[in-house]
Amino acid sequence: MKYLLIIFLVLSFNSVFAQAYQTKTGKAIFLSKAPLNEFTGVSEQLQGLIDLEKNMVDFYLDLNTLKTGIGLRDRHMRDNYLETEKYPFAEFTGKLTSIPELKSGQTQAVAVNGRFKIHGVERDMEITGQLQRMTNGDLSLKANFDILLGDYEIPLPKLVFYELAEKQEVSIEAFLKPKKQ
């Protein structure tokens, strides 16, 4: 029994040095390109976890932190479109299609298969991006993907089609540090 404990302790100590990386200050941006109006919404509170050992990629964003630069537009976005009181988060959880072996300074294209959830609707999604091992050992991730509002039951009224695009272009950028247990 004692041996088992020791083995387990050693194993769990290992997980302290496990390949898990985390951020609380990732950047998430969406771009809406409608015929008469182009605007972006930005948040710098994207929360993310990449665990290379267990192969898990988990990101979420508090949609209340998105800012478009016009307060009333933010309120309309939260109240009428994203319904953040009911569905405060956008979430993505998935697995890397292959685990990259990154040397310091190296960048590699990665693909993640997972589930994206926003406005209470969950869909399968494959997201491709660039993963880089920084010289200090941290990870940097950049990725782009598109979201169609209709896919997530976010209604786009005819009256505002010229101000709000059906296709929202999302970019994320995050620097992830080794996770402390």
């Binding site: 769990s12 985390q22 930005v42 016009i70 307060g71």
Partner: protein, 289 residues
């Protein structure tokens, strides 16, 4: 020993396997859009502005509808129009200037947001204050006693606004109000002859679709025999604008004239009115990435 092992198992391995815990960035997230705009029919609301943004409102009331088709239900006569510019210095404080055509009143006022209702009910209502001063700039040279002085043309108002969103569909606001006229002359287009007017504004909003609401207003006078103000209307959000169409018994558009201006008989002397609200963000740099 087994227990210890179990504890270690639970504490060490579970968080490592799990996803990140979903946490709100701000537990006390304020409630959005208790009302559609900083105006609601005639009254100011608890709806704040963001720093460096400007709220521009064009407000309009026509003649009373009981003239019938002959006067196109009041549209032919007696329009009162007010332009109002409100500029937010911070999340809490905004300063505004307005000008209404009736008696050519210029008003300067401010709004201060003391409390904001939060989604988790840690604060159950929003509370804002407003106050201002106005001057009547009509020409009164024809009067035998001569034109009134600047101070005789002045009037003041103050109000407290207590608003709450009771459900995503229904919001209400209680606004104790006062108005003070230094010299309420008969020649001014007000019905009252008192200096001080006290009233209680009641506003209601019932959301009918995602972007439009039925709006209600009732402002009983507390210390005068003047008729009370009744209003019923429809608010529509349309891509950055908020349009407000309503029937109301008062032709006054600024706070002092709302209380002292008098009201028509409800049902008979309703007037058609509308407000166009637009919020501009000033001094914003285009974000690049």
């Amino acid at each position: 020993m087994k227990k210890l092992l179990l504890i270690i198992l639970v504490t060490c391995s579970l968080p490592a396997f799990g996803q990140l815990e979903r946490k709100l960035a701000n537990e006390n997230q304020p409630v959005d859009l208790i009302f559609h705009a900083p105006r609601h029919i005639n009254l100011l609301t608890v709806e704040p502005l963001d720093p460096k943004s400007m709220h521009f409102a064009i407000m309009h009331t026509f003649g009373s509808v009981n003239g019938g088709i002959q006067n196109l239900f009041g549209l032919d006569n007696g329009a009162n129009i007010q332009f109002s510019f409100e500029f937010a210095l911070s999340n809490k404080l905004s300063l505004a200037a307005s000008r209404s055509s009736r008696d050519k009143i210029y008003n300067l006022f401010g709004r201060y947001h003391l409390l904001q209702q939060t989604q988790n009910e840690s604060m159950p209502f929003s509370l804002s204050l407003a106050g201002g001063a106005g001057v009547n700039t009509s020409a009164y040279d024809f009067l035998p006693e001569g034109s009134p002085s600047f101070s005789e043309r002045s009037s003041f108002f103050g109000q407290i606004m207590i608003g709450r969103r009771f459900s995503p569909k229904f919001s209400a606001q209680l606004s104790p109000m006062m108005a003070y006229f230094v010299d309420p002359r008969a020649v001014y287009q007000i019905q009252g002859d008192q200096n001080l007017y006290l009233a209680l504004g009641l506003s209601g909003k019932l959301k009918v679709t995602d972007r439009s609401s039925l709006t209600l207003q009732y402002i009983p006078n507390l210390n005068s025999d003047l008729r009370s103000n009744y209003g019923i209307g429809w608010d529509v959000e349309a891509g950055g604008h908020v349009f407000q169409m309503y029937f109301v018994t008062s032709q006054g558009l600024n706070e002092q004239y709302l209380l002292a201006g008098g009201n028509g008989v409800p049902g008979e002397e309703f007037r058609l009115g509308f407000n166009v609200n637009r919020i501009f963000a000033l001094g914003q740099k285009k974000q690049k990435w």
